[in-house]
Amino acid sequence: MNRIFIMLAVAVVITGCATTAVKTDYGQYLLTLFKTEFTSKGPATVDRILNRDDVQKMCSEYPLERTEEMAESIQKSQMATVKYPADGQYLGDWKNGEKIAQNGRGLQSSDPIGGVNGGNCYACHNITKSEISYGNIGPSLYNYMKVHGSNDQVVKYTWAKIYNPQAFTACSNMPRFGHNGILDEKQIKDVMALLLDPASPVNQ
């Protein structure tokens, strides 16, 4: 371990004198540390942090702001990933959707491989009146139908937004639930019902 930091230090000194590419090099050093110091555990593999897709790379490199061209190219590529339900049915069971919205587990190093993943929607969104413990990283979804309506366009938009939020907002903080396989098609339908079923507490 000691040796790595010393090696890195030497590399920094050399490249620092010779070139201006120091900034990108720190990223390389970080990758070296990930390779040598991190171990796969449960569903959380080292591969997962070493091999990132273009969106993750770009959003890491430009975390706080990025050009309009970049944003548009990300949104375009991500829109192309959205898979709509094959049977044309968008709404499942809102009660199960509520459970998914409450559940913050899944895909952590402490979770079992192949377990049921949650959506953890309440971590970031106000959703129902009865749950007072909600976050504010995302907008309130309470009264979703009243605010957005429920026509076909809204339904398709909502599906795509859950499936891959970066189709609309490049580098969004929201996970790409469908695209990254966090929630399966049935689970997304259930979360859709939580937002768009008139009987759901979201719309009461």
Binding site: Q102, N103, G104, R105, Q108, S110, D111, G118, N120, Y122, A123, I132, S133
Partner: protein
Amino acid sequence: MNQSRRDVLRITSILGLGLAGGLFSSLNVFGAEWMPKSFEAKNLADALKELGVDKYTMSSDVSVVSAEIAENGAVVPISIASAIPHTEYMAILVEKNPSPLSVAFNIPEGTDAAITTRVKMGGTSNVYAVVKADGKWFAASKEIKVTLGGCGG
């Protein structure tokens, strides 16, 4: 070597007996004994009955002070107090816990009938302070919400 070790053991065990005997007898004289039936009662009514509370009056002279929301149910700070003269006994009960009785205090003369401690709560529940003064029972309660916190994992 063996002999001395045995001596040490003997001394320890005598001391142990003496200590335990002394301590427990002094507890019997001065203090409360642990009451298995009260602590093991599975609901509020049974726990109160086992404590010997046949009837009680809700009183504004008794208070339960805490935050209305607990970030974590494992540690919920609770202060109970009684302004009723001659308060001699106080207990904290968490209605929805599997065993409601949490802790009870004998209040000797000269000690304030006001105690702060921390209890575990399995979920949102009413928390009761039950006190005995001049042989009569009084109570107060407060609802404390236990929320899910953090990142959820």
